[in-house]
Amino acid sequence: MATATAVSKPSTATGDGHKRKKNAFSDGQGRLAWMLLAPTLLVIFVMAGIPVVMSIRESFFANDNAPDPTTGLIKQGESFVGIKNFAQIFTSTDVVQGNWGTMNRFWNAFLNTSMITIVCVVIETVLGVAMALIMSKAFRGRGFVRAGILVPWAIPTIVSALMWKLIFDANGVMNKILGQQILWLSDTFSSFWAIVIADSWKTAPFIGLLTLAGLQTIPAEVYEAAKVDGASAIQQFTQITLPMVKPTLVVAVLFRTLDTLRMFDLPYGMIGPGKYRVETLSVFAYQETQATRFGSAAAYSMVLFIYVLLVAYLFVRVLGADVIGEKAPKKKKVKKNDRNDTQAAPVSGIELAGGAH
C-alpha cells in the first residue's frame, strides 16, 4: 500500500503543471502532515491523554484506608465507589470560613478560583491594553520600555511568588510604602488582594504583548484618515483601535482566563497551603493528594477541567474567540482547490504559510 501511494502521488503533483519537488511524502495531503505531527501527538497522548484517562478512572475510586484495629495496618488497594467522590462536593460537611462566608471547602475554593479569575483578568486586560498602547508608540528608549514591561512575564511564577512574599512580609516593602501594618501573608481578605496584585503584575505583560501584535496590524492610514476627519484620541481608541484589536484581545483574554482558573503557584508559594481565603481548586486538589485521597483529588480536578472547558467553549461561542485564525479565510468563501481566482481579500497567516509554492 505504501508503495502504491508513493508511486501515484508524484504523478498527480506533476499533473497540475506546477514545478514540485519529487518527494514521495510531500504530496500536500494529510500524510506528511500526520508524519510531522506524530511526535507531538505522541507526546500529547502520553503526557496528557493517558493521565487524563487515568484521572477520570481514578475519580470513581477511593482508597480503602481504614486501619485494622489490632495491628493498625491499612489494607492496601482501592475500590470502585461510583460517583461518591463527586457527590461529596455537595454532601461534605467539611465547612471552612472564607471570603464569601462559611461554606463547604470545595465551594469556597470554587468561588475563590472564580473571583480571583474575574478580578485578575479584568485588571490585567486594562493594564495590558495600556501597556500595549505605550509599547506601540514610537519614542526614545522604546526597546528599553518594551523589554522592561516583559520582565515580569519572564520570571517563573514560583520565583515571583517568593519575591512577592518578601514584599508582602509584615515588615516588607509594601507595608513600608503604605505606612501601615497589613498582614498580607496571614489569612484575611488582604491575602486575596495580595494574590490579585502579584498575578496582575506578572501577567498583564502577556496581554500587553499579544495586544501589541494586534495593534501593529492596524494600518497607519486608518488613523490618518480619522485625524483628517477630526476624530479625537478617545474616538480613535474606541472606534478604531478597540474594534480592530478585538480579535487578538479576545484570544489573549481567553488564554489568561484559562490560565488563571488553574492558578496554583501564587497562592501555594506566597500565602501557603490551608489558607481558605486564597485556596483555589488546584491547591485544594493538591492538598487532597497530599492526604492520599487520590479519588476525590481526581474528582475535583475533573470538575475544574469541565469548568475550564465550559469557559473556553463560552469564549469561542459568545465572544467568537478566533483561536487558530479561521475567520479571515471563512469570510472569503473561496472554494477549495480554486486558488487561481485572484481576489484581493486579506490572507491569513496560515494561508500564507501553506500556500502553493
Binding site: E58, L73, L304
Partner: protein
Amino acid sequence: MSFVRPKRGVLVVAASLSAVLLAAACGGSGGSSSGSGGSGSGSAAAVDLTKQGPTEYWAGKDTSGNLAKLISQFNAQHPQGKVTFHELPDNADQQQQQMIQATTTKNPNMGVISMDVVWTAQFAANGYVVALPKDQFPTDKFLPATVSSATYFNKLYGYPASSDGGLLYYRKDLLQKAGISDPPTTWSQLMQDCDKIKAQAGNASLGCYAGQFQKYEGLTVNFAEAVNGAGAVIVGEDGKPNVNTDQAKQGWSQIVSMYQKGYIPKAAITWQEEQGRQAFQSGQLIFLRNWPYVYALASKDDGSSKIVGKFGVAPLPGLNGPGVSSLGGHNMAIAANAANKGTAADFIKFMTSEQTMKSNVLATSAAPTLTSLYTDSDITKKYPYMPILLKSIETAKPRPKAVDYTDVTLAIEDAGYSTLQGQQQVDQAFSTLQTKLQGLIK
C-alpha cells in the same frame, strides 16, 4: 491544494488544550500511585534483614557536609554493601511525597529513609516501612520519648536518629537590668517580666514573646505545647481525641489573649521559625520559643546577631507551671521495597552508634537521641544548652499519632489560626476540632 477546515468542535478542543494539560498535571500522581497498592509488606511475618548489596539513604539536604563523610566511613568498613546518599529537598512535605512516590513505584534502591516523627503512623500503617525486630534494634539506650515517636501499635518502625525539643530563648541582659533573676516558668510570669522590662527607658517598642504562629506545621507544634503545658491533651493516652476540655481551652486561650493584648506582636502570626529568629537576633524580642538550632546562629559574632552573649535558654513556660515541648526529630527506617535490607539495617546501626551520633551532633547541632550523649563533655562544652534541651525532650509529648496526619494537623491549624485571628471563639473552635478529630482518629 486542499485545506480541510477544522470544525467548530475541534476548535473548542484546541482552545482548551491548556485545560487538558491542567487535568493531566493534577491527576497524574493520583493515577499512578494508587494503582500499584497491595504491596502487602509490613505484615506480621518477620522481614529478612540479611541481604547485602548497594542501597540508598534518602534524607533531606546535608547542610553540614558531615553526612557525606559518615557515609564514606561506613562504606570503607562495609564492603559487602555500599550506601549512596539520595538527597531530597529541604521541604518536609516534598520529602514525604517523594518517599511515598518511590514506595508506590516499588523503587528497590530506596533502602533507608529519614522519617519525620509525625510520619511514623502513616508510613507504618500503609506498609511503606518495615517493623524493626527488637532483638536487633534494642531501645534501652535511647530517650523514651524518641522511641515512642517511632513506635506504632507497639511495634518499632524506625530507629531514633535525631531529636528536637522547643526551648525558651530569653534576653539575659534585659532581665538582669529589670532585676529579674530567673527566666519565667509560667505565661503570667512571662508577661509580668515583659511589663517590667518594657517599663524601662528605651524598651517600649520591644516585642514580648513569639513562637511559630503562622498557619503551618509550626502552629500545630505551638498549639500542642500550649494545650499540653496546661496539663491537657489533644489526643489522650487511649488514642481517643479529648481536646474539648476546660484545661485545654484555658491553655490556648492564654496564647490568644496574649496575642490580643499585644504581648505577641501583631506580625507574629505570619512568622515561621526563621522570621522569629531574625526578630530575636536583631534585638526586637524579649522571649522567643524556638528549636536548638537558633543557639549557634544567635551566638555568631560575624555581625548577623546583635545579641551575642546577651541571651539565655530555659525550658518552655506553661500555664501554671513548667511547660511541655512538642517532640521533633527524625527516625531512620527501612523502606518496604528495599532490595538489600541487610545493608540498610547495618547502616542504621552504624548511624545510631554512639561514636557516629556524637560526630554528627558536633557537626550539625542536631539533638542526640542517645541519653549518654547529653552528658558527654565534648558536646556540653560546644552546646551549653544540652542539659536544658534534655529536660525539654524528656518531658516532651509527641504530636497526635494519626494515619491521616495531614488532616489532623490541618484541623488543629484551623482551630489555632481562626482563634488567633479572632474569626472564631475558642469554645466554638475547640468543639469543632474535637468533632473533626473524632472523625479522623478512630
